[in-house]
Protein backbone atom coordinates (compact mmCIF):
# COMPACT_ATOMS: atom_id res chain seq x y z
CA UNK A 1 0.00 0.00 0.00
CA UNK A 2 1.56 3.19 -1.13
CA UNK A 3 -1.06 5.44 0.40
CA UNK A 4 -1.58 6.23 4.05
CA UNK A 5 -4.03 8.48 5.79
CA UNK A 6 -1.52 10.69 7.54
CA UNK A 7 -2.98 13.95 6.32
CA UNK A 8 -6.64 14.32 7.18
CA UNK A 9 -8.75 15.43 4.22
CA UNK A 10 -11.77 17.66 4.86
CA UNK A 11 -14.63 16.03 6.67
CA UNK A 12 -12.62 14.16 9.29
CA UNK A 13 -12.54 16.79 11.98
CA UNK A 14 -14.97 14.79 14.12
CA UNK A 15 -12.18 12.29 14.84
CA UNK A 16 -9.26 13.81 16.77
CA UNK A 17 -6.25 12.69 14.75
CA UNK A 18 -3.92 12.47 17.75
CA UNK A 19 -5.95 9.75 19.51
CA UNK A 20 -3.95 6.82 18.22
CA UNK A 21 -0.77 7.34 20.18
CA UNK A 22 2.31 6.39 18.17
CA UNK A 23 3.78 4.36 21.03
CA UNK A 24 0.93 1.85 20.85
CA UNK A 25 2.70 0.41 17.85
CA UNK A 26 1.86 -0.03 14.21
CA UNK A 27 -0.94 -2.55 14.59
CA UNK A 28 -3.16 -0.44 16.78
CA UNK A 29 -2.50 2.49 14.52
CA UNK A 30 -3.51 0.55 11.45
CA UNK A 31 -6.68 -0.72 13.11
CA UNK A 32 -7.83 2.69 14.17
CA UNK A 33 -7.19 4.23 10.81
CA UNK A 34 -9.07 1.41 9.10
CA UNK A 35 -12.06 2.17 11.28
CA UNK A 36 -11.68 5.83 10.49
CA UNK A 37 -11.25 5.15 6.78
CA UNK A 38 -14.39 3.03 6.72
CA UNK A 39 -16.37 5.65 8.58
CA UNK A 40 -15.16 8.42 6.34
CA UNK A 41 -15.22 6.59 2.98
CA UNK A 42 -17.91 3.95 3.38
CA UNK A 43 -19.74 5.32 0.38
CA UNK A 44 -16.64 4.93 -1.76
CA UNK A 45 -16.08 1.38 -0.51
CA UNK A 46 -19.72 0.55 -1.23
CA UNK A 47 -19.12 1.44 -4.89
CA UNK A 48 -16.38 -1.20 -4.99
CA UNK A 49 -18.59 -4.05 -3.74
CA UNK A 50 -20.08 -5.16 -7.06
CA UNK A 51 -16.79 -4.93 -8.98
CA UNK A 52 -15.03 -6.88 -6.23
CA UNK A 53 -17.75 -9.50 -6.40
CA UNK A 54 -17.11 -9.70 -10.14
CA UNK A 55 -13.37 -10.26 -9.67
CA UNK A 56 -13.97 -12.78 -6.90
CA UNK A 57 -16.54 -14.87 -8.78
CA UNK A 58 -15.41 -14.61 -12.38
CA UNK A 59 -11.65 -14.24 -12.02
CA UNK A 60 -10.42 -15.72 -8.72
CA UNK A 61 -12.94 -18.57 -8.34
CA UNK A 62 -11.85 -20.08 -11.70
CA UNK A 63 -8.21 -19.83 -10.56
CA UNK A 64 -9.06 -21.90 -7.50
CA UNK A 65 -11.27 -24.03 -9.73
CA UNK A 66 -8.08 -25.36 -11.31
CA UNK A 67 -7.88 -27.83 -8.41
CA UNK A 68 -10.23 -30.06 -10.39
CA UNK A 69 -7.09 -30.95 -12.32
CA UNK A 70 -6.17 -33.01 -9.24
CA UNK A 71 -9.67 -34.10 -8.32
CA UNK A 72 -12.24 -36.25 -10.03
CA UNK A 73 -14.96 -34.04 -11.49
CA UNK A 74 -18.51 -35.26 -11.90
CA UNK A 75 -20.76 -33.29 -14.26
CA UNK A 76 -23.38 -31.58 -12.16
CA UNK A 77 -21.28 -32.06 -9.04
CA UNK A 78 -19.20 -29.61 -7.06
CA UNK A 79 -17.26 -26.87 -8.83
CA UNK A 80 -14.08 -28.23 -7.29
CA UNK A 81 -14.58 -31.93 -7.98
CA UNK A 82 -15.40 -34.88 -5.78
CA UNK A 83 -12.25 -36.48 -4.38
CA UNK A 84 -8.49 -36.18 -4.70
CA UNK A 85 -6.80 -38.26 -7.36
CA UNK A 86 -3.35 -36.68 -7.15
CA UNK A 87 -1.38 -36.52 -10.37
CA UNK A 88 -3.51 -39.08 -12.16
CA UNK A 89 -4.60 -36.69 -14.91
CA UNK A 90 -1.09 -35.28 -15.31
CA UNK A 91 0.28 -38.80 -15.82
CA UNK A 92 -2.57 -39.44 -18.21
CA UNK A 93 -1.75 -36.56 -20.55
CA UNK A 94 1.99 -37.12 -20.32
CA UNK A 95 1.45 -40.60 -21.77
CA UNK A 96 -1.05 -39.39 -24.35
CA UNK A 97 0.47 -39.26 -27.88
CA UNK A 98 -2.08 -36.64 -28.96
CA UNK A 99 -0.89 -34.40 -26.16
CA UNK A 100 2.71 -34.52 -27.44
CA UNK A 101 1.53 -33.77 -30.94
CA UNK A 102 -0.42 -30.69 -29.86
CA UNK A 103 2.52 -29.69 -27.64
CA UNK A 104 4.86 -29.76 -30.65
CA UNK A 105 2.32 -27.85 -32.75
CA UNK A 106 2.01 -25.22 -30.04
CA UNK A 107 5.78 -24.73 -29.95
CA UNK A 108 5.89 -24.48 -33.74
CA UNK A 109 3.08 -21.96 -34.06
CA UNK A 110 4.26 -19.96 -31.05
CA UNK A 111 7.84 -19.90 -32.31
CA UNK A 112 6.92 -18.89 -35.85
CA UNK A 113 4.59 -16.17 -34.54
CA UNK A 114 7.38 -14.82 -32.35
CA UNK A 115 9.94 -14.87 -35.17
CA UNK A 116 7.68 -13.17 -37.71
CA UNK A 117 5.16 -11.09 -35.79
CA UNK A 118 7.60 -9.45 -33.39
CA UNK A 119 10.10 -7.80 -35.80
CA UNK A 120 7.69 -6.76 -38.56
CA UNK A 121 6.03 -3.95 -36.57
CA UNK A 122 9.49 -2.58 -35.66
CA UNK A 123 10.50 -2.41 -39.33
CA UNK A 124 7.13 -0.97 -40.33
CA UNK A 125 7.35 1.70 -37.64
CA UNK A 126 10.89 2.67 -38.78
CA UNK A 127 9.68 2.95 -42.37
CA UNK A 128 6.63 4.99 -41.38
CA UNK A 129 8.86 7.24 -39.34
CA UNK A 130 10.83 8.17 -42.45
CA UNK A 131 7.70 9.37 -44.25
CA UNK A 132 7.79 13.15 -44.30
CA UNK A 133 4.27 13.76 -45.64
CA UNK A 134 1.98 13.66 -42.60
CA UNK A 135 -1.17 12.95 -44.60
CA UNK A 136 0.46 9.98 -46.31
CA UNK A 137 1.73 8.64 -43.00
CA UNK A 138 -1.70 8.92 -41.43
CA UNK A 139 -3.33 7.19 -44.40
CA UNK A 140 -0.96 4.22 -44.25
CA UNK A 141 -1.55 3.94 -40.51
CA UNK A 142 -5.33 4.10 -40.80
CA UNK A 143 -5.33 1.35 -43.40
CA UNK A 144 -2.92 -0.92 -41.55
CA UNK A 145 -4.86 -0.65 -38.24
CA UNK A 146 -8.13 -1.67 -39.85
CA UNK A 147 -7.89 -5.49 -39.58
CA UNK A 148 -7.26 -5.18 -35.85
CA UNK A 149 -10.75 -3.79 -35.23
CA UNK A 150 -12.68 -6.52 -36.99
CA UNK A 151 -14.01 -9.66 -35.38
CA UNK A 152 -11.64 -12.59 -35.52
CA UNK A 153 -14.45 -14.46 -37.24
CA UNK A 154 -14.34 -11.95 -40.07
CA UNK A 155 -10.55 -12.17 -40.26
CA UNK A 156 -10.76 -15.96 -40.44
CA UNK A 157 -13.51 -15.72 -43.04
CA UNK A 158 -11.47 -13.37 -45.20
CA UNK A 159 -8.36 -15.53 -44.83
CA UNK A 160 -10.22 -18.64 -45.94
CA UNK A 161 -11.83 -16.82 -48.86
CA UNK A 162 -8.50 -15.43 -50.06
CA UNK A 163 -6.91 -18.87 -49.99
CA UNK A 164 -9.87 -20.87 -51.26
CA UNK A 165 -9.42 -22.81 -54.48
CA UNK A 166 -11.31 -20.02 -56.28
CA UNK A 167 -9.62 -17.26 -54.29
CA UNK A 168 -7.27 -14.52 -55.49
CA UNK A 169 -4.10 -16.30 -54.36
CA UNK A 170 -4.91 -19.36 -56.43
CA UNK A 171 -5.97 -17.07 -59.26
CA UNK A 172 -2.47 -15.53 -59.30
CA UNK A 173 -0.92 -19.00 -59.09
CA UNK A 174 -3.07 -19.98 -62.06
CA UNK A 175 -1.80 -17.02 -64.07
CA UNK A 176 1.73 -18.19 -63.31
CA UNK A 177 0.81 -21.59 -64.69
CA UNK A 178 0.58 -23.30 -61.33
CA UNK A 179 -2.07 -25.79 -60.29
CA UNK A 180 -4.44 -24.58 -57.55
CA UNK A 181 -3.15 -25.32 -54.04
CA UNK A 182 -5.60 -26.55 -51.41
CA UNK A 183 -4.18 -24.29 -48.67
CA UNK A 184 -7.06 -24.92 -46.30
CA UNK A 185 -7.12 -28.69 -46.46
CA UNK A 186 -3.41 -29.50 -46.54
CA UNK A 187 -1.67 -29.84 -43.15
CA UNK A 188 1.66 -28.58 -44.50
CA UNK A 189 0.12 -25.21 -45.33
CA UNK A 190 -1.52 -24.53 -42.00
CA UNK A 191 1.47 -22.88 -40.31
CA UNK A 192 2.03 -20.49 -43.20
CA UNK A 193 -1.69 -19.75 -43.33
CA UNK A 194 -1.86 -19.04 -39.60
CA UNK A 195 1.25 -16.86 -39.42
CA UNK A 196 0.32 -15.03 -42.62
CA UNK A 197 -3.12 -14.08 -41.37
CA UNK A 198 -1.63 -13.14 -38.00
CA UNK A 199 0.80 -10.74 -39.70
CA UNK A 200 -1.98 -9.30 -41.84
CA UNK A 201 -4.15 -8.70 -38.79
CA UNK A 202 -1.62 -7.42 -36.25
CA UNK A 203 1.37 -5.85 -38.03
CA UNK A 204 -0.13 -2.37 -38.45
CA UNK A 205 -1.55 -2.22 -34.97
CA UNK A 206 1.76 -3.39 -33.53
CA UNK A 207 3.48 -0.23 -34.79
CA UNK A 208 1.50 2.07 -32.46
CA UNK A 209 3.72 1.77 -29.42
CA UNK A 210 6.90 1.99 -31.48
CA UNK A 211 5.69 5.14 -33.22
CA UNK A 212 4.89 6.61 -29.83
CA UNK A 213 8.36 5.69 -28.58
CA UNK A 214 9.93 7.22 -31.70
CA UNK A 215 8.35 10.60 -31.05
CA UNK A 216 10.04 10.78 -27.65
CA UNK A 217 13.56 10.55 -29.09
CA UNK A 218 15.38 13.84 -28.73
CA UNK A 219 15.97 15.62 -32.07
CA UNK A 220 19.30 16.91 -30.72
CA UNK A 221 20.64 13.36 -30.77
CA UNK A 222 20.14 13.19 -34.53
CA UNK A 223 21.73 16.62 -34.85
CA UNK A 224 24.76 15.48 -32.89
CA UNK A 225 25.00 12.27 -34.91
CA UNK A 226 24.88 14.24 -38.16
CA UNK A 227 27.65 16.55 -36.97
CA UNK A 228 29.71 13.46 -36.13
CA UNK A 229 29.25 12.42 -39.76
CA UNK A 230 26.69 9.66 -39.33
CA UNK A 231 24.69 8.83 -42.43
CA UNK A 232 21.02 7.86 -42.43
CA UNK A 233 21.67 4.18 -41.64
CA UNK A 234 24.12 5.00 -38.89
CA UNK A 235 21.59 7.39 -37.39
CA UNK A 236 18.96 4.64 -37.35
CA UNK A 237 21.43 2.16 -35.90
CA UNK A 238 22.95 4.40 -33.23
CA UNK A 239 20.08 6.72 -32.32
CA UNK A 240 16.68 5.38 -33.36
CA UNK A 241 17.06 1.72 -32.38
CA UNK A 242 18.55 2.43 -28.93
CA UNK A 243 15.73 4.93 -28.46
CA UNK A 244 12.99 2.34 -28.90
CA UNK A 245 14.88 -0.48 -27.20
CA UNK A 246 12.90 -0.37 -23.92
CA UNK A 247 9.63 -0.63 -25.87
CA UNK A 248 11.00 -3.50 -27.94
CA UNK A 249 12.09 -5.40 -24.88
CA UNK A 250 8.81 -4.85 -23.07
CA UNK A 251 6.86 -6.16 -26.04
CA UNK A 252 9.27 -9.04 -26.48
CA UNK A 253 8.72 -10.12 -22.87
CA UNK A 254 4.97 -9.90 -23.36
CA UNK A 255 5.24 -11.91 -26.57
CA UNK A 256 7.31 -14.59 -24.86
CA UNK A 257 4.71 -14.69 -22.08
CA UNK A 258 1.89 -15.42 -24.50
CA UNK A 259 4.05 -17.82 -26.50
CA UNK A 260 2.16 -20.91 -25.34
CA UNK A 261 -1.28 -19.37 -25.60
CA UNK A 262 -1.15 -19.14 -29.39
CA UNK A 263 -4.28 -17.62 -30.86
CA UNK A 264 -6.78 -20.17 -29.64
CA UNK A 265 -9.80 -18.62 -31.31
CA UNK A 266 -8.00 -18.19 -34.62
CA UNK A 267 -6.83 -21.80 -34.73
CA UNK A 268 -10.33 -22.95 -33.79
CA UNK A 269 -11.73 -20.95 -36.71
CA UNK A 270 -9.09 -21.86 -39.28
CA UNK A 271 -8.46 -25.53 -38.70
CA UNK A 272 -10.44 -28.61 -39.67
CA UNK A 273 -9.97 -32.32 -39.04
CA UNK A 274 -7.78 -32.61 -42.14
CA UNK A 275 -5.27 -30.10 -40.77
CA UNK A 276 -5.25 -31.35 -37.15
CA UNK A 277 -1.77 -32.91 -37.62
CA UNK A 278 -0.19 -29.44 -37.74
CA UNK A 279 -2.97 -27.14 -36.52
CA UNK A 280 -4.19 -28.71 -33.29
CA UNK A 281 -2.66 -26.81 -30.33
CA UNK A 282 -2.85 -27.31 -26.58
CA UNK A 283 -5.75 -24.90 -26.09
CA UNK A 284 -7.87 -26.36 -28.89
CA UNK A 285 -7.18 -29.85 -27.53
CA UNK A 286 -8.25 -28.65 -24.08
CA UNK A 287 -11.43 -27.30 -25.64
CA UNK A 288 -12.24 -30.54 -27.43
CA UNK A 289 -11.33 -32.80 -24.53
CA UNK A 290 -13.11 -30.66 -21.95
CA UNK A 291 -16.13 -29.05 -23.54
CA UNK A 292 -16.85 -31.49 -26.36
CA UNK A 293 -15.93 -34.77 -24.66
CA UNK A 294 -16.72 -33.71 -21.06
CA UNK A 295 -13.36 -34.92 -19.65
CA UNK A 296 -13.21 -31.82 -17.49
CA UNK A 297 -10.52 -32.84 -15.02
CA UNK A 298 -8.26 -34.18 -17.75
CA UNK A 299 -8.65 -31.01 -19.84
CA UNK A 300 -8.16 -28.79 -16.80
CA UNK A 301 -4.88 -30.58 -16.03
CA UNK A 302 -3.57 -29.82 -19.52
CA UNK A 303 -4.83 -26.24 -19.33
CA UNK A 304 -3.09 -25.71 -16.01
CA UNK A 305 0.13 -27.15 -17.43
CA UNK A 306 -0.07 -24.63 -20.27
CA UNK A 307 -0.75 -21.72 -17.91
CA UNK A 308 2.15 -22.67 -15.64
CA UNK A 309 4.58 -22.86 -18.57
CA UNK A 310 3.34 -19.45 -19.69
CA UNK A 311 3.91 -17.99 -16.24
CA UNK A 312 7.40 -19.53 -16.03
CA UNK A 313 8.26 -18.18 -19.50
CA UNK A 314 7.20 -14.63 -18.77
CA UNK A 315 8.91 -14.62 -15.37
CA UNK A 316 12.20 -15.92 -16.76
CA UNK A 317 12.08 -13.58 -19.76
CA UNK A 318 11.51 -10.71 -17.38
CA UNK A 319 14.35 -11.72 -15.05
CA UNK A 320 16.70 -12.32 -17.96
CA UNK A 321 16.03 -8.91 -19.47
CA UNK A 322 16.38 -7.17 -16.10
CA UNK A 323 19.78 -8.81 -15.56
CA UNK A 324 21.12 -8.26 -19.07
CA UNK A 325 19.64 -4.99 -20.32
CA UNK A 326 18.07 -3.51 -17.24
CA UNK A 327 14.54 -3.25 -18.61
CA UNK A 328 11.73 -5.28 -17.10
CA UNK A 329 7.98 -5.31 -16.65
CA UNK A 330 8.17 -5.48 -12.85
Amino acid sequence: MSTSTTSAPPGTQDQPPARAAPRRGKRANARTSWRRALRRDWRLYSLAILPLLFFLVFRYLPMIGNVIAFRRFEPGGSLFGEDWVGLRYVRMFLSDPTFWQVFRNTLWLGGLTLVFCFPIPVVLALLLNEVRRRSLKRFVQSVSYLPHFLSIVIVAGITLQMLASDGPVNHVLGLLGHDPVRFIQEPQWFRALYVGSEIWQTAGWGTILYLAALTTIDEDLYEAARIDGANRWQQIWHVTLPGIRPTMITLLILNVGTFMAVGFEKVLLLYNPLTYPTADVISTYVYRAGVESSSFSYAAAIGLFEAVIGLVLITSANTLSRRTVGTSLW
Partner: protein, 290 residues
Protein backbone atom coordinates in the same frame (compact mmCIF):
# COMPACT_ATOMS: atom_id res chain seq x y z
CA UNK B 1 28.10 9.31 -48.64
CA UNK B 2 29.43 11.84 -51.11
CA UNK B 3 25.86 12.66 -52.04
CA UNK B 4 23.82 11.70 -48.98
CA UNK B 5 20.73 13.50 -50.23
CA UNK B 6 20.70 11.35 -53.35
CA UNK B 7 20.96 7.99 -51.60
CA UNK B 8 18.34 9.21 -49.19
CA UNK B 9 16.04 10.00 -52.11
CA UNK B 10 16.53 6.47 -53.37
CA UNK B 11 15.63 5.19 -49.93
CA UNK B 12 12.53 7.40 -49.85
CA UNK B 13 11.46 5.95 -53.18
CA UNK B 14 11.94 2.38 -51.99
CA UNK B 15 10.15 3.21 -48.76
CA UNK B 16 7.20 4.59 -50.69
CA UNK B 17 6.99 1.43 -52.75
CA UNK B 18 7.13 -0.80 -49.66
CA UNK B 19 4.43 1.16 -47.84
CA UNK B 20 2.24 1.18 -50.93
CA UNK B 21 2.58 -2.60 -51.00
CA UNK B 22 1.58 -2.76 -47.33
CA UNK B 23 -1.52 -0.69 -48.06
CA UNK B 24 -2.41 -2.82 -51.09
CA UNK B 25 -1.96 -6.11 -49.25
CA UNK B 26 -4.08 -4.88 -46.35
CA UNK B 27 -6.84 -3.39 -48.44
CA UNK B 28 -7.06 -5.91 -51.25
CA UNK B 29 -8.93 -8.60 -49.27
CA UNK B 30 -11.58 -6.10 -48.20
CA UNK B 31 -12.13 -4.83 -51.73
CA UNK B 32 -12.19 -8.36 -53.04
CA UNK B 33 -14.79 -9.50 -50.48
CA UNK B 34 -16.94 -6.48 -51.30
CA UNK B 35 -16.66 -7.24 -55.02
CA UNK B 36 -17.55 -10.89 -54.41
CA UNK B 37 -20.63 -9.94 -52.44
CA UNK B 38 -22.06 -8.26 -55.56
CA UNK B 39 -20.86 -10.86 -58.05
CA UNK B 40 -22.48 -13.82 -59.71
CA UNK B 41 -21.78 -17.34 -58.49
CA UNK B 42 -20.35 -18.48 -61.81
CA UNK B 43 -17.87 -15.61 -61.96
CA UNK B 44 -16.66 -16.23 -58.40
CA UNK B 45 -16.32 -19.91 -59.17
CA UNK B 46 -14.18 -19.12 -62.20
CA UNK B 47 -11.95 -16.93 -60.06
CA UNK B 48 -12.70 -13.88 -62.20
CA UNK B 49 -13.59 -11.51 -59.37
CA UNK B 50 -10.69 -9.31 -58.33
CA UNK B 51 -11.32 -5.63 -57.64
CA UNK B 52 -14.66 -5.09 -59.30
CA UNK B 53 -17.89 -7.15 -59.21
CA UNK B 54 -18.29 -9.44 -62.22
CA UNK B 55 -21.81 -10.37 -63.23
CA UNK B 56 -23.24 -7.72 -60.92
CA UNK B 57 -26.32 -8.83 -59.02
CA UNK B 58 -27.96 -8.46 -55.63
CA UNK B 59 -29.32 -12.01 -55.45
CA UNK B 60 -27.11 -13.03 -52.54
CA UNK B 61 -28.04 -9.93 -50.56
CA UNK B 62 -31.70 -10.84 -51.16
CA UNK B 63 -31.09 -14.41 -50.00
CA UNK B 64 -29.37 -13.27 -46.81
CA UNK B 65 -31.95 -10.53 -46.15
CA UNK B 66 -34.74 -13.08 -46.46
CA UNK B 67 -33.11 -15.46 -44.00
CA UNK B 68 -35.03 -15.06 -40.75
CA UNK B 69 -32.18 -16.63 -38.79
CA UNK B 70 -29.75 -14.01 -40.01
CA UNK B 71 -31.95 -11.18 -38.72
CA UNK B 72 -32.61 -13.04 -35.50
CA UNK B 73 -28.87 -13.40 -34.91
CA UNK B 74 -28.16 -9.83 -35.95
CA UNK B 75 -30.74 -8.70 -33.41
CA UNK B 76 -29.11 -10.92 -30.78
CA UNK B 77 -25.79 -9.25 -31.44
CA UNK B 78 -27.36 -5.82 -30.90
CA UNK B 79 -29.08 -7.00 -27.71
CA UNK B 80 -25.97 -8.67 -26.27
CA UNK B 81 -23.82 -5.68 -27.14
CA UNK B 82 -26.19 -3.22 -25.46
CA UNK B 83 -26.75 -5.25 -22.28
CA UNK B 84 -23.12 -6.29 -21.85
CA UNK B 85 -21.84 -2.77 -22.51
CA UNK B 86 -24.27 -1.27 -20.01
CA UNK B 87 -23.21 -3.69 -17.26
CA UNK B 88 -19.56 -3.25 -18.09
CA UNK B 89 -19.84 0.53 -17.99
CA UNK B 90 -21.51 0.60 -14.56
CA UNK B 91 -19.00 -1.75 -12.96
CA UNK B 92 -15.95 -0.23 -14.61
CA UNK B 93 -16.95 3.34 -13.78
CA UNK B 94 -17.63 2.50 -10.11
CA UNK B 95 -14.34 0.68 -9.62
CA UNK B 96 -12.28 3.18 -11.60
CA UNK B 97 -13.72 6.00 -9.51
CA UNK B 98 -12.86 4.22 -6.26
CA UNK B 99 -9.33 3.48 -7.50
CA UNK B 100 -8.80 7.10 -8.51
CA UNK B 101 -9.14 8.30 -4.91
CA UNK B 102 -5.51 8.50 -3.87
CA UNK B 103 -6.21 9.02 -0.17
CA UNK B 104 -8.38 5.90 0.06
CA UNK B 105 -7.05 3.32 2.47
CA UNK B 106 -6.50 -0.06 0.88
CA UNK B 107 -6.37 1.41 -2.62
CA UNK B 108 -3.17 -0.44 -3.45
CA UNK B 109 -4.81 -3.76 -2.62
CA UNK B 110 -7.86 -2.91 -4.73
CA UNK B 111 -5.62 -2.05 -7.70
CA UNK B 112 -3.60 -5.24 -7.18
CA UNK B 113 -6.73 -7.41 -7.19
CA UNK B 114 -7.57 -6.12 -10.66
CA UNK B 115 -4.07 -6.04 -12.16
CA UNK B 116 -3.15 -9.57 -11.06
CA UNK B 117 -5.91 -10.97 -13.27
CA UNK B 118 -4.05 -9.60 -16.29
CA UNK B 119 -1.18 -12.00 -15.66
CA UNK B 120 -2.95 -15.13 -14.50
CA UNK B 121 -6.40 -16.39 -15.36
CA UNK B 122 -8.44 -19.41 -14.46
CA UNK B 123 -8.40 -21.13 -17.79
CA UNK B 124 -11.11 -22.40 -20.10
CA UNK B 125 -12.36 -25.42 -18.19
CA UNK B 126 -12.86 -23.89 -14.71
CA UNK B 127 -14.59 -20.90 -16.34
CA UNK B 128 -16.84 -23.17 -18.33
CA UNK B 129 -17.81 -25.19 -15.26
CA UNK B 130 -18.42 -22.01 -13.27
CA UNK B 131 -20.71 -20.40 -15.85
CA UNK B 132 -22.53 -23.69 -16.33
CA UNK B 133 -23.08 -24.32 -12.63
CA UNK B 134 -24.25 -20.75 -12.06
CA UNK B 135 -27.01 -21.57 -14.56
CA UNK B 136 -26.03 -18.75 -16.89
CA UNK B 137 -26.07 -20.91 -20.01
CA UNK B 138 -28.39 -19.84 -22.82
CA UNK B 139 -28.81 -16.34 -21.45
CA UNK B 140 -27.24 -12.98 -22.14
CA UNK B 141 -25.65 -13.14 -18.66
CA UNK B 142 -23.21 -15.79 -19.83
CA UNK B 143 -21.79 -13.21 -22.21
CA UNK B 144 -22.15 -10.06 -20.10
CA UNK B 145 -21.17 -11.07 -16.58
CA UNK B 146 -17.88 -12.97 -17.07
CA UNK B 147 -16.53 -10.07 -19.17
CA UNK B 148 -17.95 -7.21 -17.14
CA UNK B 149 -14.63 -5.48 -16.43
CA UNK B 150 -11.71 -5.19 -18.79
CA UNK B 151 -8.72 -4.30 -16.64
CA UNK B 152 -7.18 -2.34 -19.48
CA UNK B 153 -10.28 -0.12 -19.80
CA UNK B 154 -10.38 0.17 -16.03
CA UNK B 155 -6.84 1.57 -15.92
CA UNK B 156 -7.54 4.04 -18.72
CA UNK B 157 -10.62 5.32 -16.91
CA UNK B 158 -8.82 5.49 -13.57
CA UNK B 159 -6.07 7.58 -15.14
CA UNK B 160 -8.67 9.98 -16.52
CA UNK B 161 -10.46 10.37 -13.17
CA UNK B 162 -7.12 11.03 -11.49
CA UNK B 163 -6.49 13.89 -13.87
CA UNK B 164 -9.67 15.74 -12.82
CA UNK B 165 -9.10 18.65 -10.41
CA UNK B 166 -9.83 17.50 -6.84
CA UNK B 167 -10.88 21.00 -5.79
CA UNK B 168 -14.13 20.66 -7.74
CA UNK B 169 -15.14 17.54 -5.88
CA UNK B 170 -14.16 19.00 -2.53
CA UNK B 171 -16.23 22.11 -3.22
CA UNK B 172 -19.22 19.95 -4.17
CA UNK B 173 -18.77 17.94 -0.99
CA UNK B 174 -18.75 21.11 1.11
CA UNK B 175 -21.94 22.15 -0.68
CA UNK B 176 -23.54 18.98 0.66
CA UNK B 177 -23.23 16.40 -2.10
CA UNK B 178 -22.51 12.83 -1.01
CA UNK B 179 -19.93 10.63 -2.77
CA UNK B 180 -22.66 9.27 -5.04
CA UNK B 181 -23.85 12.79 -5.83
CA UNK B 182 -20.33 13.93 -6.64
CA UNK B 183 -19.83 10.98 -8.99
CA UNK B 184 -23.17 11.39 -10.77
CA UNK B 185 -23.51 15.17 -10.88
CA UNK B 186 -19.91 16.43 -11.01
CA UNK B 187 -17.49 13.72 -12.19
CA UNK B 188 -19.52 11.97 -14.89
CA UNK B 189 -20.64 15.16 -16.67
CA UNK B 190 -16.98 16.18 -16.78
CA UNK B 191 -15.98 12.78 -18.14
CA UNK B 192 -18.13 12.58 -21.24
CA UNK B 193 -15.07 12.05 -23.44
CA UNK B 194 -13.72 9.08 -21.52
CA UNK B 195 -17.20 7.59 -21.03
CA UNK B 196 -17.82 7.77 -24.78
CA UNK B 197 -14.45 6.16 -25.43
CA UNK B 198 -15.17 3.33 -23.01
CA UNK B 199 -18.63 2.72 -24.50
CA UNK B 200 -16.95 2.49 -27.88
CA UNK B 201 -14.22 0.12 -26.62
CA UNK B 202 -16.67 -2.19 -24.88
CA UNK B 203 -19.33 -2.23 -27.58
CA UNK B 204 -16.78 -3.01 -30.28
CA UNK B 205 -15.36 -5.89 -28.30
CA UNK B 206 -18.81 -7.30 -27.51
CA UNK B 207 -19.94 -6.82 -31.10
CA UNK B 208 -16.89 -8.71 -32.34
CA UNK B 209 -16.95 -11.50 -29.76
CA UNK B 210 -18.17 -14.93 -30.72
CA UNK B 211 -16.57 -17.48 -28.44
CA UNK B 212 -18.67 -16.95 -25.27
CA UNK B 213 -21.83 -17.34 -27.29
CA UNK B 214 -20.42 -20.34 -29.11
CA UNK B 215 -19.52 -21.90 -25.77
CA UNK B 216 -22.59 -21.09 -23.70
CA UNK B 217 -25.50 -20.95 -26.16
CA UNK B 218 -27.09 -24.20 -27.22
CA UNK B 219 -29.67 -23.09 -29.79
CA UNK B 220 -29.02 -21.39 -33.10
CA UNK B 221 -31.71 -18.78 -32.48
CA UNK B 222 -29.69 -17.50 -29.49
CA UNK B 223 -26.49 -17.00 -31.46
CA UNK B 224 -25.00 -13.62 -32.35
CA UNK B 225 -24.27 -12.91 -36.00
CA UNK B 226 -20.57 -13.69 -35.53
CA UNK B 227 -21.47 -17.30 -34.75
CA UNK B 228 -23.84 -17.32 -37.73
CA UNK B 229 -20.88 -16.32 -39.87
CA UNK B 230 -18.63 -18.85 -38.17
CA UNK B 231 -21.12 -21.62 -38.93
CA UNK B 232 -21.22 -20.59 -42.58
CA UNK B 233 -17.43 -20.79 -42.73
CA UNK B 234 -17.26 -24.06 -40.83
CA UNK B 235 -19.97 -25.53 -43.05
CA UNK B 236 -18.06 -24.54 -46.15
CA UNK B 237 -14.62 -25.70 -45.05
CA UNK B 238 -15.42 -28.67 -42.79
CA UNK B 239 -12.93 -31.02 -44.39
CA UNK B 240 -14.34 -34.14 -42.74
CA UNK B 241 -16.04 -35.34 -45.90
CA UNK B 242 -14.27 -33.18 -48.43
CA UNK B 243 -15.85 -34.69 -51.47
CA UNK B 244 -17.62 -33.21 -54.45
CA UNK B 245 -20.62 -32.27 -52.31
CA UNK B 246 -18.52 -30.17 -49.93
CA UNK B 247 -16.74 -28.53 -52.83
CA UNK B 248 -20.11 -27.62 -54.30
CA UNK B 249 -21.29 -26.27 -50.95
CA UNK B 250 -18.19 -24.12 -50.54
CA UNK B 251 -18.83 -22.63 -53.97
CA UNK B 252 -22.40 -21.73 -53.08
CA UNK B 253 -21.18 -20.50 -49.70
CA UNK B 254 -18.58 -18.17 -51.19
CA UNK B 255 -20.86 -15.27 -52.07
CA UNK B 256 -23.10 -15.79 -49.02
CA UNK B 257 -20.00 -15.68 -46.83
CA UNK B 258 -18.90 -12.50 -48.56
CA UNK B 259 -22.28 -10.84 -47.97
CA UNK B 260 -22.36 -11.90 -44.32
CA UNK B 261 -18.81 -10.67 -43.78
CA UNK B 262 -19.72 -7.30 -45.30
CA UNK B 263 -22.88 -6.95 -43.18
CA UNK B 264 -21.16 -8.02 -39.96
CA UNK B 265 -18.28 -5.62 -40.48
CA UNK B 266 -20.47 -2.71 -41.55
CA UNK B 267 -21.19 -1.17 -38.12
CA UNK B 268 -17.50 -1.40 -37.18
CA UNK B 269 -16.48 0.27 -40.42
CA UNK B 270 -18.99 3.05 -39.74
CA UNK B 271 -17.51 3.89 -36.34
CA UNK B 272 -13.93 3.17 -37.48
CA UNK B 273 -12.82 6.83 -37.85
CA UNK B 274 -13.77 7.58 -34.23
CA UNK B 275 -12.67 4.21 -33.04
CA UNK B 276 -9.18 4.53 -34.39
CA UNK B 277 -8.50 7.92 -32.85
CA UNK B 278 -9.82 6.94 -29.43
CA UNK B 279 -8.13 3.57 -29.43
CA UNK B 280 -4.77 5.04 -30.33
CA UNK B 281 -4.84 7.57 -27.50
CA UNK B 282 -6.24 4.92 -25.16
CA UNK B 283 -3.42 2.53 -25.94
CA UNK B 284 -0.85 5.25 -25.27
CA UNK B 285 -2.47 6.03 -21.95
CA UNK B 286 -2.68 2.38 -21.00
CA UNK B 287 0.92 1.82 -22.00
CA UNK B 288 2.16 4.69 -19.87
CA UNK B 289 0.06 3.73 -16.86
CA UNK B 290 0.44 -0.06 -17.32
Amino acid sequence: MVKPSRSYRVFQGVNGVVLTLVVLVTLYPFVNILARSFSGERQIRAGEVTLWPKGFNLTTYKIVFQDAMFWRNYGNTVLYTVVATAIAMVLTTCYAYVLSKKQLKGRGVLVGIAVFTMFFTGGLIPNYILVTSLGLKNSVWAIALPNAISVFNLLVMKAFFESLPTELEEAAQIDGLSTYGVLLRIVLPLSKAVVATMVLFYSVSFWNSWFSAFLYMDHSDLMPVTVYLRNLIAGATGGGNAGAATAELSQVGASIQAVTIVLTALPILCVYPFLQRFFVSGVMLGAVKG
